[in-house]
Symmetry: C2
DNA sequence: GCAATTTATGGCATATATGCTATAACAAAA
DNA sequence: TTTTGTTATAGCATATATGCCATAAATTGC
């Protein structure tokens, strides 16, 4: 059986942004005194996913970030308070 | 054949946040003079996806939001400049 | 060192994001 | 009404996000 490959589509994983987001989350979580586990529990997310985000292994959805922001009691924008380079595509 | 259903997992779609995000994106896009199509093209995303986000039909990933922010030349936090209610789970 | 806590990884299942393509719906002109 | 520009929908394919479960690795305090 041949592989039924159709066409290649790109799925970009924005490493720079995700790295900055991971850093920001770690900072905020520490400041607010949450462990990955307590944050996961209260935000109703899994520990796995929190760990993935902080280790830049996943590209979370905005809903996930909303839950985290609510739990940390910070505006969502605070989680994205960093500067992206104007990187070229 | 029985359905091999395992266990139910929740996948929350944060309608409130997504509604606010859609509104914010529409605003910023208009301010900056982009159509959905030009934004999609320059951000290297599909028109479909921009439309889905603006009509609250999808829960985008943060990488997608990073691309949009870069194209609109705004800090990512600007796209999330709105207030979530402290909604209970 | 040991135990406890916390963080990181791994595999697997399922839901969904996104691409791609086409089309429809809509609005504003002309 | 037709054209033109724009936004919304739809179906399908594939990549990935996330849950769940287990375990490993790292950290901290004793």
């Amino acid at each position: 059986m041949k592989k039924p490959k159709k066409t290649a589509r790109k799925f970009v994983f924005d490493e720079e942004g995700l790295r900055l987001l991971a850093k920001r989350l770690k900072e905020l979580r520490a400041e607010k005194g949450f462990t990955q586990e307590t944050l996961a529990y209260e935000a109703d997310i899994t520990l796995s996913q929190i760990a993935r985000i902080e280790t830049v292994k996943a590209n979370p959805t905005v809903s996930t970030m909303f839950k985290i922001a609510r739990t940390l009691s910070v505006p969502v924008s605070t989680l994205f308070d960093f500067k992206l380079s104007n990187k070229l595509k």
